[in-house]
C-alpha cells in the first residue's frame, strides 16, 4: 500500500511517500506563486526517486496552509493534527510537539496514541518563525542555514528586546553599528524566539518528551536555546521539516485501513 502526504507550507512544500509503515522517500522544495503546480512537481519528483508512478498512490492527504487549494488529494487535514501524528510515529514518547514553521509556530499536546489533546498557535505575526529568522539572517549577511553554527560561537550574551520583525531588524542593524559580534546577535535572536515560544507553550501542560518539528528545528542554535529554556527532554527528528507531510501520509494510510 503506497500513500502520499503533502505539506504545503508558507515557505516550502514537502512530499512524503509512505509504504508499509516506512518512509520510502521525500522531497522539500521552496514555495512559489503557483503552489498547485509546485506541489504536483514536488510529488512527481518524489515518485521518481522512489521509482513509483502517480497511479500507484492509493491515497493522498494534504496539510499546511495551502492544503485546500490542491485539487488531486483525497482529504485535507490541518497541520496541527498531522504534526501530532508524525511526531508520535517517529517517537511514541512524544507528549508535546513544538512546530516552528515559516509563518507560524504552534505547540501541541499529544496523547500516547498521537491524538491532539490541546494546542496553541502564535498570533498573526511573523515573530518567532522561520520568516523572522530569514529576515534577520539577511540583515546580518548570513545564510539562514548558517545561523545555528554561527550562534554556537557566541561568548557574550546580548538581549534582543523587540519581537516585531520590523523593529527587531532595526534593533539588529543598530547592534551591528555598535560593533557587536554577529554570533552574539544571532544567539540573542534565538533566545528571544525561544522565550516567546516558551511563554506560548506554558499555556499548555508541557509534558516530556518534547519533539521539535518544522524547518526551524534544523537550526542547532535554536534547538540549544529552546532546550535551555524548556529544561525538558527534547527530541529532534532527523528531518524535522517533513514531520507534517509524514503525518499526512500516515493519515492517508489510515483512511485506507478504515475503508
Amino acid at each position: 500500500m503506497i500513500v502520499a502526504g503533502l505539506d504545503i507550507g508558507s515557505l516550502t512544500i514537502k512530499a512524503v511517500i509512505f509504504e508499509e509503515n516506512k518512509i520510502k522517500g521525500f522531497t522539500i522544495v521552496p514555495t512559489g506563486a503557483d503552489a498547485n503546480k509546485l506541489t504536483k512537481d514536488c510529488l512527481e519528483l518524489t515518485l521518481k526517486r522512489t521509482g513509483n508512478d502517480f497511479k500507484d498512490l492509493q491515497a493522498i492527504v494534504a496539510t499546511g496552509y495551502g492544503r485546500i487549494s490542491v485539487p488531486f488529494t483525497d482529504k485535507s487535514i490541518t497541520e496541527i493534527t498531522c504534526h501530532a501524528i508524525g511526531a508520535n510515529w517517529l517517537n511514541p514518547d512524544t507528549r508535546t510537539v513544538i512546530d516552528i514553521g515559516g509563518q507560524d509556530s504552534k505547540v501541541i499536546s499529544v496523547d500516547q496514541d498521537g491524538r491532539v489533546v490541546d494546542f496553541v498557535m502564535n498570533d498573526k505575526c511573523a515573530a518567532g518563525t522561520g520568516r523572522f529568522l530569514e529576515v534577520m539572517a539577511n540583515a546580518l549577511g548570513v545564510k539562514t542555514e548558517e545561523l545555528g553554527n554561527e550562534s554556537l560561537k557566541s561568548k557574550k550574551k546580548i538581549t534582543i528586546s523587540s519581537m516585531c520583525t520590523v523593529f527587531a531588524e532595526s534593533e539588529v542593524i543598530s547592534l551591528i553599528a555598535e560593533g557587536c559580534a554577529k554570533e552574539d546577535i544571532i544567539r540573542g535572536l534565538h533566545e528571544a524566539i525561544s522565550n516567546r515560544i516558551c511563554s506560548m507553550a506554558c499555556r499548555l501542560r508541557l509534558e516530556n518528551t518534547i519533539a521539535l518539528t518544522g524547518g526551524v528545528a534544523k537550526n542547532i542554535g535554536m534547538v540549544h536555546a529552546l532546550k535551555k529554556r524548556l529544561k525538558a527532554k527534547v527530541y529532534v527528528p532527523e528531518e524535522p521539516q517533513i514531520v507534517g507531510a509524514l503525518g499526512a501520509a500516515i493519515a492517508a494510510s489510515r483512511i485506507l485501513y478504515s475503508e
Partner: protein
Amino acid sequence: MIKKEFLDYIQHKERIFESIKKPRMGWVCTYTPVEIIIAAGFYPYRIIPVEDPSLANSYLDSNFCPYVRSCLGEALEKRPEYADNLIIVNSCDAMRRLYDAWRHYVQGAFIYLLDLPRDDSAKAIKYYQANLQLLIDRLEEKFKIKISEDLLSQAILVCNKTRKLLTELSDLYVKEKISLSAVEFLQIVKGSMIFPQEEYNILLEKFLKDLKKEENILPETSQIKNKSKILITGTVMDDLSMAKVVEDYGGRVVFVDMCTGNRYFSDQSKISEIKQTNSDPLRVLAEYYLRKIPCPRMMNLEKRWEYLLKIIKDYQVKGVIFYNLKFCDTSMFELPLIREKLQKNKIPSLCLEGEFASNNLGRVKTRIQAFLEVLEFAR
C-alpha cells in the same frame, strides 16, 4: 415569508434608517433598557459598526477594545445622520472611555452614561431601578417629553414579544427542526437589535409562522447525528463567518453565549416574570436586566464556571470556543482558569481573539478545523 427575503430585509441597515422617521437613540451594551428608549418615543438601535476604526485611532489607543474603537470610528465618519443620541452603560472601562471620547469628539450629540451594579441582590436591583429613574428624568428634561408608566408597560410588552419570538426560533434551531444555519440564526438575532422592535416583531412572527408550517419542518432523519456540538462564548461577534467555518468543518453551533447571541434575548422563565406589568415597570426592568443571562462582567469565576457547565450539560456541548475581542480584560483574565476546569471535565476548548470588523479568517480557519479534528478523534 421566504427566508432569503427576510434575511436580506433585516440586514439592510441603511434602508432601515432611511425608512424610519422617528428620532434615533443608539445603544452599545445589552444592559441598556431598550424599553425606556421606546417609551420615550425613540427608535432604539444597537451600534454594530462595519467601518474601519481608523478615524478613532487618533483618539483612542490601538490597544483598546476594538468594538469601542469601531463605534467611535463609525460615529466620526457618519455623524450627524448616524449617531444623534447614545446611551452607554458603565459596564467596563472601555465603555466609560467611549463615553469620554464621544462627549469630546462627537459634537452636539446627546450622550448618557448609565451606571450598572455587578450582582442581582435586592440592594443592587434597588440601585439600578433608581438609576433607570435618573435616565428617565434626564430624557424627559432634555427632550421635553413625559415617559408615563403606561408607555413603559407597553414598551415592556413589545420587547417581551421580541424575546419570546427569538427564544422560539432558538428552540427550533437547536432541535434542528428547521433548515437554519448558525449564521442565519445569528443574523436574525442581530437584526432584532438594529430594527425598530414593533415592526421587527411583525416580521419575525410571520417568518416563524411560515417556518413552522408542516412542509417546512425537517423530518428527524435529516438531522445529522455525528456533528460535534459547539458552544461559542465571549463578547461581541460581528463577523459571523466564524460560525460558518465551524459548520463547514462539521461542527454544530448550539449556543452562542455572547451579547450578539443568546445572551441578548435570555430564557423563557425570566420573560414570564417581566410579564406582570401591573407592578412598578421600572422595578420589573431592573429585575429583568440584572437577572437575565449574565455577561462575564457580572460574575465571579465560580459563578461563571457553574453557568458554563450548565449550558454544556443542557445542550450536550462537546467543545467550547472562546471568542473574545482583543484586550477584553473582563472576559479574558479568567480564561486560563476556566480552561483548566474544562480540561478536568474532558471538554476540549479553543481560544480565539478577534478584531472588530476585520477579516483574518484564514488563521481562524486552521484553528477551528484543527479543533474539530480534536473533537472528532475524541468521539
